[in-house]
Symmetry: C2
Subunit: 313 residues, 2 copies
């Protein structure tokens, strides 16, 4: 059945029937607005839009996987402030001939990714549109801590990364060349493994700045560099390129470091810490903050590829 034959309110009923609340959900879908607990008297909030053909393709990802990715992109932003996500709101613009099951499975993916952090889908809106578009807003709580911003990095700080990097970009390249394997890379693109825990952990460790890598490590570190008025140097040898990625890069004629340094979609968190901060093995030290400006790799500009995504290019 198409979403048009289900009708706006039929579709809403089918989708919301698949959603469960979280302890922070004081009032879920079905009213003019939702009500969500904001325990520390402040709420973290961010929005990301995903447009078919630009952020996802239905022949590359299942509806469940698109739901995971759409949720992850937003939940990672909450983590990157040092917060724990509480709720998601979803605006779905859909062609009238979309199968209702696709919308239902999208909701399943969104809800499942939310469950990883104890959040829930609490509301949304549905409209017809010629272009399948998913607009997600995430809310979160800082647990009384100050937000970890982009503008606090200091010369001398360590730069450290939590989570996988380059996998999703590699998987995206693999898919774009018409292949379906290596599976580890394709799966990484389809369902990112975001280190949500690392956001509040970094805040507790005294991180001076933090950002989630969604558009490419060097580009996103560029935001930190500009906001903080510092230079950041990344050590290329800090990254171990796994065998699957090395083999795929070789087969496709790509430098795997373009995936690691300029690829998006894995949503690892990168943070700066005062020197001497005791970081356990979950954090990979990848560089250092210096006086000056700009982001370099081993002290030099990285010219092998664009630094990351511009969503109009």
């Amino acid at each position: 059945m198409s979403v048009a034959s289900a009708g706006e309110f039929g579709l809403i009923a089918r989708v919301t029937a698949r959603l469960a609340g979280a302890p922070t959900t004081l009032l879920g879908p079905g009213d003019d607005a939702a009500l969500v607990a904001a325990p520390d008297g402040r709420v973290v909030a961010c929005t990301d839009v995903l447009v078919e053909g630009r952020h996802f393709r239905r022949d590359w990802s299942s509806a469940v996987e698109v739901g995971h990715r759409a949720a992850a992109a937003n939940l990672a932003d909450v983590a990157a402030m040092g917060g724990v996500a509480t709720a998601l709101l979803v605006g779905l613009c859909t062609p009238p001939d979309l199968d209702v099951r696709w919308a239902e499975e999208l909701a399943d993916g969104l809800a499942a990714e939310c469950e990883l952090v104890g959040a829930a889908v609490v509301g949304g809106d549905i409209s017809a549109s010629p272009v399948l578009t998913i607009a997600v807003t995430a809310l979160g709580d800082l647990g009384g801590r100050p937000p970890v911003r982009r503008d606090g990095a200091c010369p001398g700080d360590l730069v450290a990364l939590a989570g996988r990097i380059g996998y999703a970009a590699a998987g995206c390249t693999v898919l774009s060349r018409g292949f379906r394997s290596p599976k580890a890379l394709v799966e990484a693109y389809r369902r990112p493994q975001v280190p949500y825990w690392a956001g509040p952990a970094a805040a507790a460790l005294g991180a001076t700045s933090m950002i989630d890598v969604s558009d490419g490590l060097l580009q996103d570190l560029g935001h930190v560099s500009r906001a903080s008025g510092v230079a950041i140097d990344v050590k290329r040898d800090a990254f171990e390129v796994p065998a699957a990625m090395r083999d795929a890069a070789s087969a496709l004629g790509v430098d795997p470091y373009t995936w690691v340094l300029a690829g998006g979609d894995d949503h690892p968190l990168v943070a700066t810490f005062p020197p001497g901060t005791p970081l356990d093995e979950d954090w990979l030290v990848i560089g250092a903050v210096r006086e000056g400006e700009g982001v370099t790799v081993n002290g030099r500009a990285f010219l092998d590829a664009p630094l990351g995504w511009d969503h109009f290019r």
Copy 2:
């Protein structure tokens, strides 16, 4: 200059430069997420999407006016819970050839409508898309009051309306027939005058249920009727059809009550109150809650037109 030549980050810089914060804005645009005060430890949240050709037309409304309408649709939902809006997040999907000025003026309209309630645009996202789409999320605060839901209407309650009704629908019909006047109606469509004050006021008066009329009075009262398990009867004579609307209806061959009873976009608030609630002249009593089910006009089904909008029809 097109948004594509400005680039994603250039466009973001231009748009955010036009935005001011509100007292509740603890951290505005420019980081992974915004931070907004949630004084009572809870946050009201809702999302509405507007798709070009379906919710707005660039030849019918200026960018500033589209901004006002997009903000109003969401801010009204916060008011309908009894809340005061604090913040807006905006996801903009835009064709690459859109003039940067259009996006800037959209931001001006969004910001100006926010200012009416003391809220601010605190964040968002921008992406290219073949279809101009605006996804807005509003946040708000209940000031310690319980939310006014749709499911609390009781037999015997009064049904009362705050704000104009039918004007915007009339203006939309006027524009759809190729006319540009009467100006009062066209302006009502282009820039709704939402009675935001009435939301918290109704909550303070003990409203048992409330909804904002965005899809048509009878359809939206239908949501209240179903959620509350009651019947609602509306008195046709309660509404005074103003001269401009009567004249336009006559010229266009339309029953003006289809605008009043089934038209959307004005975003008045309709609430139910226990009998005897002292309502001042800002509230128009338009009917009563009975035992039973369904929404009637003068005790009979309203068959002159669809009850309101289905966004897939």
